[in-house]
């Protein structure tokens, strides 16, 4: 009884913390405490968090190296913009359409390719990512190489915040469910888990589809914040960027993915002033972090309630 109450209190506390964080930022934006530049970076940060956390489900927890995440982002972005901009639907329809389209793309790509292993899977996903880009480049309805411009800005802070929290919650809960344990077992030992009666392929596809859906969500938010989408934005270099975040944070750590996404966004921003050397510094940081912390910032650890409880207790 006591335990239950405590859990409930913790939950309430967390909700309050999240709500306060939301309100502070919302207030700061409304009052103008956060200038445009920071506003843009907070948006990029949230989008990167969604991308990194969702790819982490595929690359980190399921252990399937995917190099085509930007492709799903593109599918989501384009599908939603067709809904909102071309067909005049409300934003929520755009979001759902984007997620759905990306999820379907994930399913169609996942079912055949997830039979492949390791680098062969990597190259197949990379290939699909590129195919999506080339196809978009050649469809005139969506603007060809010029992409779609003049998209209405609908990605507001509430949408952004809610999407980020939902992404993290869904993926964390998925991992902690029985599905999640099956997914992790696939990573740890595919043959053993198959022998235990786990249908490895379907769990891999499940993780892949969920990851793709959230990548699509990120694409939707991106499109409706930056006014323009073009196929080039979603090339393989973008996919690499996301992989970098996941690995930097720690494969199989959602906390790590979040931290790395924040870190990379701010690094990019902070280096803006050093136009000539920014990419050199960026690449050096990448190499150095990997050499000294090859398992990523968090390894496979998570910051959980327990961690906080320990820190809290430690201080006492």
């Amino acid at each position: 009884m006591h335990e239950k109450k405590k859990t409930w209190l913790t939950f309430l506390f967390e909700v309050i913390v999240l709500a306060v964080l939301f309100t502070i930022v919302q207030y700061a934006i409304t009052v103008g405490l956060i200038n445009q530049s920071y506003h843009i970076n907070i948006t990029s940060m949230c989008i990167n968090i969604i991308l990194a956390v969702s790819l982490n489900l595929i690359n980190g927890f399921t252990g399937q190296l995917s190099l085509g995440h930007a492709g799903f982002m593109a599918v989501g972005a384009y599908a939603s913009v067709i809904m909102t901009n071309n067909l005049g639907m409300p934003f929520i329809v755009g979001i759902l359409a984007g997620c759905l389209a990306a999820g379907i793309a994930g399913f169609l790509i996942g079912v055949p390719t997830l039979r492949l292993k390791g680098d062969y899977l990597a190259i197949a996903t990379l290939g699909f990512g590129e195919i999506i880009r080339v196809v978009l480049q050649n469809i005139d309805y969506v603007g060809g190489p010029a992409g779609m411009v003049g998209i209405t800005r609908l990605t507001s802070w509430p949408w952004l915040y809610a999407s980020t929290i939902v992404t993290i919650l869904v993926i964390v809960n998925l991992i902690n469910s029985s599905y999640g344990r099956a997914i992790i077992s696939v990573r740890e030992d595919e043959i053993a888990s198959e022998l235990m009666g786990i249908n490895t392929t379907s769990y891999k596809v499940l993780a892949f589809v969920v990851g793709a859906m959230f990548a699509g969500l990120a694409g939707v938010l991106y499109a409706h914040f930056f006014y323009i989408i073009k196929p080039e934005t979603f090339g393989f270099l973008k996919s690499f960027d996301i992989v970098v975040m996941v690995v930097l944070g720690g494969l199989g750590s959602t906390t790590g993915a979040v931290i790395a996404a924040i870190f990379i966004t701010f690094l990019t921003f902070a280096l803006q002033k050093y136009a000539a050397v920014r990419m050199i510094i960026y690449s050096l940081i990448l190499i150095i972090v990997m050499i000294y912390r090859p398992q990523g910032v968090m390894g496979s650890k998570e910051l959980t309630r327990k961690t906080f409880a320990r820190i809290w207790g430690g201080k006492k």
Binding site: R115, I123, G127, M279, I280, L284, L286, P294
Partner: protein, 293 residues
Amino acid sequence: MIEFIQQLVNGLSLGAIYALIALGYTMVYGIIKLINFAHGDVMMVGAYVGFFSITLFGTNILAAMLLAMLFCAIFGVIIEKVAYRPLRNSTRIAALITAIGVSLFLEYITIFILGPAQKVFPSSAFPITEYHIAGISILNKNIFVFISAVVLMLILQYIIKWTKTGKAMRAVSLDMEAAVLMGISVDKTISITFAIGSALAAAAGVMVGVYYNTINPLMGIIPGLKAFVAAVLGGIGIIPGAMVGGFVMGLLETMVSGYGNSLYRDAVAFGVLILILLIKPTGLFGKNTGEKV
């Protein structure tokens, strides 16, 4: 028919270039299972060394190529020592990220020093002769690239199959720990692998310079990617596989542009690639060993 033969010539020349780059890729992969994304950029460095050797020191093309190969061999060994060796016992994906880091570093340090604009490879370095046979035009550079690719592949195959170093390489590739126990210096073997792989990339770089006349700091990205695809296609880690993969890739792209729709060239090329992988998941030459429990 003439057109078809011409397309064949086109495809084989393009394929030879992919094959050249893929050889180094596949070799490094075969030994340490690292997708060395920086391979294309080492090729770029090689092209620049060749370029400066011709323009600054006035060497001929062969000397330029040897110089580039030598420089990149040393350079490759340094990259391996500094960036990849500390990660040898970590996950492969960590090494992959480092490779991406090295790739970005090479690209942007070159841009920083030399600027992003392309440099024109002096055409005097390799005078072009055209042969027109029954409506088919073949250039001496096509033949040159083709023969180089085949010869280098044969040399590589010889090294790996018949020399002591090659045996050491295969041993390291098969089982690193057992190789150590057999008295093989793993560090040395991997260094040699990187030296050879990078030298091959440099040779390819100079050839790309000769072939297309221009070089730029980002020239390694696309050919690097396609060569990687070619290597996977042939069965990554297998030398003749890389060669065949390169030619398949070149022919595929050429035929799509020539008889299909050039707008969808890359999409179709990747699509066929994925199909091949689905039918034969370990590549054309890969042996499906099955997993041990």
